[in-house]
Symmetry: C2
């Protein structure tokens, strides 16, 4: 199977944006300010990587396009957007620009930005609860998802922490010399957990769809538990590679190329991979994690080709 990554990415943006357009209250819905703020940050030109990974994971498992995967993707993007809105606030990273546009609090004020982030998190869970799938499938997804985006405590999934836990470690680590252990822990939690859960939740939705298909038993290459474990391993390794590449680009690319302030990590003494290992070793490590990600999907042959191609794209990108 020849995979056209550009086509997957392009199509994924169209499908995700259509779902978000449908699910987010319109700009003319009262109260106006918060709905405009939610839309401002949601439709700011995101690449929709998490939704695309979720949709492809669902497809790998179910062997077909999975109904509702676009809504799962939209929920993931809502949480990604809420985390960026809150991360950009003056009390956190204090960023004025994102993708060349004013950040939410710059455009709408801090109060509305805080509440818009809150509302996007709520809308994500509301969206998940309304996907047309079996309740048991949706509860599995909500459980997995809520662990991944919280402080992450109590997880028995191998992830050291969740998204918010990662943000806290990142804030508290600033100004200290980053250690190898801390930088890996932060990366796995702050960006890795949401990327991993995108792929795992896609897999859970795909399993639900597969079981609803007649004669589906023959098409699954492994037990449901093994499929989810393989997707989780793929996600953890690809997510870490993704963040290492992000750190590398912050050092090597200009602000114009990135669409955000370059060199900011170094300036604020952030815990980054290059700060601990240097650029050369960071590039080797990214490649090595991608190889581990590929290995996890080995048993799934050609059906895993799109996910692998996406992971390859993530580490080769220049912005």
């Amino acid at each position: 199977m020849n995979v056209d990554v550009q086509q997957i990415l392009k199509n994924g943006v169209v499908v995700t944006d259509a779902a978000l357009e449908r699910l987010l209250p319109s700009a003319n819905t009262l109260p106006h300010s918060i709905h405009r703020a939610m839309r401002h940050s949601t439709f700011a030109g995101g690449k929709r990587l998490r939704p695309i990974l979720a949709m492809e994971a669902a497809k790998m498992v179910a062997g077909r396009e999975v109904p509702g995967a676009d809504e799962l993707g939209a929920a993931l993007e809502m949480v990604h957007t809420y985390s960026l809105i809150h991360d950009d606030l003056p009390a956190l990273d204090n960023d004025d620009l994102r993708r060349g546009m004013p950040t939410c609090h710059v455009a709408f004020g801090e109060a509305i930005a805080i509440l818009a982030g809150d509302a996007l998190q709520t809308l994500a869970f509301q969206t998940l609860s309304q996907i047309a799938a079996q309740p048991a499938t949706l509860i599995d997804i909500i459980r997995e998802f809520s662990f991944a985006i919280g402080t992450g405590v109590g997880m028995d999934t191998g992830l050291p922490s969740g998204m918010i836990g990662g943000q806290v470690m990142d804030i508290e680590g600033e100004g200290q010399k980053p250690t190898a252990e801390l930088v890996e822990r932060i990366h796995r939690a702050k960006t890795g957990a949401l990327i991993t859960t995108s792929i795992v939740c896609g897999g859970i939705l795909g399993l639900g769809d597969l079981l609803a298909q007649p004669d589906s038993s023959a098409t699954l290459a492994a037990s449901p538990k093994d499929v989810i474990a393989a997707l989780r391993s793929f996600g953890e390794n690809a997510g870490l590679a993704f963040q290492i590449v992000d750190d590398i680009l912050d050092v090597t690319q200009s602000s114009e190329q990135l669409g955000k302030t370059a060199g900011k990590d170094t300036a604020s003494d952030k815990a980054t991979w290059p700060a601990v290992y240097g650029l050369e070793q960071s590039e080797k490590d990214a490649a090595s994690y991608i190889a581990d990600a590929f290995a996890a999907l080995e048993p799934y042959g050609q059906s895993a080709a799109p996910l692998k191609a996406l992971a390859q794209y993530l580490v080769e990108r220049k912005h």
Copy 2:
């Protein structure tokens, strides 16, 4: 049936606090700061009214103590706490004290307070997804709950807006002369929606428990749809009466009696019931909404006595 409200309130605090103690990560869990901040605000002496209403609604429907109702209550209290943490932030109400204790951002800084609120919202959904009930029951609860605590758009439940929508209207209404329409809309959304959903979600959990009991058909006085509609009407009316009384107490009681700054609503030109209708009419309106709340539960006879007694307590309280 003679209802001992004080006993219900006392027991409700014990049961809810035990569930919260179990569900919130310990103060010694890494990263420390956020878990301590979450606990600081969660265990700040709340009366646990929403959990108590949820547990009593579940009991009214199921005819017995409902397993998991304590966890539903804990989730409601997590969201109530997150909304207070964010509401107290400098960019919103800028409150330094709550129940005589430093607010979350005063004790832990703004960044951690924002993230602690975020994490409490996440933990609420995680908690709901893990209650030991049928997945279909949990999905019904999560759907209802997420509508109530969001901006509330798209609800077909008769509620004009959700909790966050109410907060936005409240912020944007400050400094303007409040109208009767606006104050009712804000109250129904900002406090009414969470109180109503506490009672409705309790009812949904109770229905799930009832259906799991052998020979349960004889014990339900009406169709499941009618029971939920009655509880919703009770909640909407009692919630509005509760907020009107809150407004009255802000005018008539001292800061010491309230444990928070009295007269603050008037000072900041907040949309309150007395500001629109005066104190005397406000008292009459509170009594009238309580009468409507009682009427909604009329068909349920003695099994509704605890909920009615709680509503009566809510309007007779002095702080």
